[in-house]
Amino acid sequence: MFASAVSVKKAIKETMVRWPAWVWEEKELENKNDVLIELKHVKKVFEDGVTVIEDLSLEIKKGEFVTLLGPSGCGKTTILRMIGGFEKPTEGELLLNGKDISNLPPNERPINTVFQKYALFPHLNVYDNIAFGLKIKGVDKKTQDEKVKKVLEMVDLEGFEKRSISTLSGGQQQRIAIARAIVNEPEVLLLDESLSALDYKMRKEMQLELKEMHRKLGITFIFVTHDQEEALTMSDKVVVMSDGDIQQIGTPEDIYNEPKNLFVADFIGASNIFKGKMVGKKQVEFCGAVFECLDDYAVDTMIDAVVRPEDVEIVEAGKGRIQGEVISCDFKGIFYVTSVKTDKAEIEIHNLKSFQIGDKVGLDLQPDGIHIIPYDTSINHYDGEITSYEAGNGFEIAFEDFTLTVPARNVFADCVEKDGGLTDAKGQAIAWENVKVTMSFLPHDAILNDDADAGFVAGDIFNFIYKDDHYRYRIRSESEEDYIVNDADLWNVGDHVSVSVPVEKMKFEIQKA
């Protein structure tokens, strides 16, 4: 314990010697656990009425390297722009050091940004670009010169002061953009997909350099990316986002090894997702076999098992708990990607051996290679109200997106239809008027159809996840309701489809007042 604290202090001291004092001014390294930025129930609706963020809360600590990770359109850049001051939250609070800064303009925030396309001023040379902020603050010429020289050293571009921006390569522009931001000694550095314009090798290099720079400067970095590898490589903390919501916050290891839900499991790294259920204490069944696992859920809980491709062992045919046949084997440099088809699913495996197509193999899993996510039972629940009743036809129930005509028995299980009226088993009339009903269905009971009028509701496919033998689609209707449907066929994101569910598979529950 003591030894480690001493060595940390020593490391800090060494770095402080190496880097000039102004880099360290007021950088309170001891208070690394202080919350620096706090978003409280932030909501953002754009002028055109589109809601990007519904209700989001997030804490960022001093000195952290935080990555906001998610597919495009998930709201990550909007959050960054709100922290930077370029967007105002519609509702909620944005605190910096405990003070609400929601209404502070960007020029008054101790925060600097590295823009996605760098936004270096083309009419100024490298020196004037970097010194832009210093000049505005009225820093004297000598200090300007010193600071510009120091940051240029830091980004490895000594002697570039007089160069015109147009003569710089993408990687050099990137460095100048970083230099221009950190020369102002901000408390927070925001990076908006800053590496996405670079080629692969350059990006790898910059990732490491940024991490190193973060270590040396000790300030808070907030990085936005859609590249999961980048996020895992660089960050202390990853915030996985989708659809304006935080899916999971954790260290890169947590996010990768213990994904909270299917979205995270699918988005981060490659994964095999199997449908299964718990069959005993820490015993899970999927792919027709029973495995031991480390997660403990009640017996019979429906689950999704997430298995990383590198955690699957390939053994001799006949051994192992899963049997299958190799259907493809591709070389990826450091490993082979092998696909094995079993009678239930297709499994992706990363390992170091190559196989021939057609090889019979056995597969096995260790307990720590299986991550269990309990089945989300709250999906596909829709609230409606009974609007009318017609003897013979049943109830008409109005939901936000659609209206259903349902036999009365499906709603009131033991009702009796008599003389155009409705009574319960004891013969008393049922008051059905304006009764609120929740309808639910299971994803695998629904059917997708490209004819928009074929189902009870239509919408666009918003995203999908591949699970062992089918795809799980999320369909979003015009009123922004989501419908989750399992389907064996491959559809594309953006396809306009209708969802139909046989009436007998719909479950109706009467809401208690």
Partner: protein, 277 residues
């Protein structure tokens, strides 16, 4: 057989791209190069047909002609400045405030260009007569007013184009680095819109030096360069008329040279932007 036939046919009717330029070259020679040579010839000869610089010396010695040159430049400078002062904020608001009807409003500003120029000036003249009674009382003011009215669209258009192309991220970057709104404008927006200003100035300055029709119509009896050429040529004084044409040509050359340098800068800058994208 058939192959020979097609070959023969293509040989007979094919002509290279260079040949397509022939009509243009003929036009250029007949209506640009030859007249220019004639003007140069007349400018540097006297009535006896001998080469002489007397015409130029006479131009710069006569207080009347130099006065006209100065008056033309004053009119052009004032017109250009007023156009710039009106057009810049207008173009900025249209381009940058995210007005949905921005382009429709722009059309309103540009629409007068579609109406015949004499008609527009006549209409304005009638209105001015109603207000002022006699136009001859304020010849300079009336001239400038009509010129500005006439040339404003030519200033707005290039400014609007430059400002719409100006990436908002530059503005955000400046704010991010601590710049107040005034700083953002002076240090980023204005320098980056210089190419638009230059091309607008070029499009307003030169025509307003020579557009004597406006002066005629508002009864401004002072001569500008255009009216001087007109009066010499209508008196069959080819030599003096040509001299003034040459002087104007030189002014045009100088201004084009300057603006080309800025335009090159503009190209480079756009090259940069495309590299980044």
């Amino acid at each position: 057989m058939s192959r020979d036939f097609t070959e023969e046919k293509t040989l007979k009717y094919s002509f290279s791209r260079k040949q397509l330029a022939i009509p243009y070259c003929i036009f250029l020679i007949l209506f640009v190069i030859l007249p220019l040579l004639v003007v140069i010839f007349y400018a540097f000869t006297n009535d006896e047909g001998q080469v002489s610089f007397a015409n130029f010396i006479a131009f710069f010695q006569s207080s009347k002609t130099v006065g006209t040159l100065v008056y033309s430049i004053v009119i052009a400078v004032v017109t250009t400045l007023i156009c710039l002062l009106i057009a810049y904020p207008t173009a900025y608001i249209l381009a940058k405030t995210g007005m949905r009807s921005g382009s429709a409003l722009l059309l309103l500003f540009v629409l007068p260009m579609w109406i015949n120029f004499t008609l527009r000036i006549t209409a304005l003249k009638e209105i001015l007569t109603l207000i002022e009674g006699n136009l001859a009382f304020h010849p300079f003011f009336n001239t400038i007013l009509c010129m500005v009215y006439d040339f404003l669209p030519f200033m707005i258009m290039p400014l609007y184009n430059t400002l719409t192309k100006l990436d908002d991220s530059y503005v955000e970057a400046a704010q991010d680095l601590g710049a107040k709104k005034s700083h953002v404008f002076l240090k980023v927006v204005l320098p980056l819109s210089v190419p638009g200003i230059v091309s607008g100035v070029t499009m307003v300055f030169l025509p307003s030096m020579t557009n004597y029709v406006v002066l005629d119509m508002v009864y401004n009896s002072t001569y500008i360069m255009g009216s001087l050429i007109g009066s010499y040529f209508s008196a069959y004084d080819w030599h003096n008329g040509s001299v003034i044409s040459i002087i104007l040509l030189l002014i045009i050359c100088v201004i084009t040279f300057i603006s080309n340098r800025y335009a090159e800068g503009d190209d480079r800058q756009q090259g940069k932007v495309s590299v980044l994208k």
